[in-house]
């Protein structure tokens, strides 16, 4: 569980750092924000986080089975 928390913290920190960058620097110009690219990013990120957590879960289950042997 600790590992997941660390991972989550890292991700959240990263997002915060990133948000600052985009507002200060002219990265997110009107074209992209009006094109709603952030929605795409949110969806892709959600999918990937889901897959990652799923893989971690498989990893843990496997570890449990290995310990039983």
């Amino acid at each position: 569980m600790k590992r997941f928390l660390v991972l989550f913290c890292l991700i959240v920190c990263h997002m915060a750092v990133f948000a600052q960058q985009t507002t200060n620097v002219e990265m997110a110009d009107t074209m992209r924000s009006s094109g709603k690219i952030y929605v795409v990013i949110a969806i892709i990120s959600t999918i990937f986080v889901g897959i990652a957590i799923y893989l971690f879960a498989i990893d843990r289950r496997l570890k449990k089975i290995e310990r039983e042997k």
Binding site: I11, M15, A28, F48, A52, L55, I58, L62, K63
Partner: protein, 224 residues
């Protein structure tokens, strides 16, 4: 082999890929005709091939080690690496086809790069078929290991050398400006390199999970 049970590099893989998912869409990319925003596919299509390459290299390593040691585990590791590599191979091929549709005009235009990628795919399919067609375990492991060691350099030649010697639509090939020009753009590098490393580790992670399942299955089969 303690490495495969550790967690830090799995977290690293996830964080790196997560970073590229966000940065890959938002950071600056060069404005180019035809490509437009699809240049961002560089962060997703190319790492599939690098991930495939990484697990195939590891597979060859274990094949050589099997021939040296004769340990069954090495053979299983080699096979599971190839199994995982095939998934990323298909992903690379399909994403390449989709990208090609909107930049080259066709899903499959018979381009040298595409054709040799298809041949190399069959080469590795043949590896899996060959391995599964032999019942006797030691013979199977030995033949598969030797085949794998030979298949790898042929795959490298087919994918990365032959298409470069002829005209190809794919970047980096004869008569065609390479991505190298844009890779020099450090804006793309800071996303592309982490993406490559992240996906390589991700593929390795999946391969280790498959390997560990295979070990348990193998143990069970031996007992019964």
């Amino acid at each position: 082999m303690k490495f495969i049970y550790q967690t830090w590099w799995k977290v690293l893989a996830v964080v790196l890929i997560f970073y590229t998912l966000i940065a890959g869409f938002l950071f600056h990319v060069p404005t180019l005709p035809i490509l437009h925003e699809t240049i961002r596919n560089l962060y997703f299509h190319v790492p599939m091939w690098f991930a495939m390459l990484a697990v195939f290299v590891i597979s060859v390593f274990f094949s050589i080690r099997y021939l040296n040691s004769g340990r069954e585990e090495d053979d299983l590791a080699a096979v599971e690496c190839v199994n995982t590599g095939m998934v990323f191979y298909l992903l690379g091929l399909v994403t390449g086809m989709i990208w090609a549709k909107y930049t080259w005009g066709e899903f499959w235009s018979g381009d040298p790069k595409q054709n040799s990628a298809a041949i190399a795919f069959l080469l590795y399919c043949a590896y899996l078929v060959l391995r599964n067609s032999i019942d006797e375990e030691q013979k199977r492991a030995k033949i598969a290991a030797i085949y794998n060691i030979f298949a790898f350099p042929i795959m490298i030649v087919l994918l990365f050398i032959l298409p470069r010697m002829t005209d190809s639509l794919h970047p980096g090939n004869g008569g065609n400006p390479a991505f190298g020009k844009f890779d020099l753009d450090s804006h793309m590098r800071i996303v592309f390199y982490p993406a490559t490393l992240g996906w390589c580790l991700f593929a390795l992670w999946i391969a280790t999970i498959r390997y560990r399942i295979r070990l348990i299955e193998n143990k069970r089969n031996n007992i019964n």
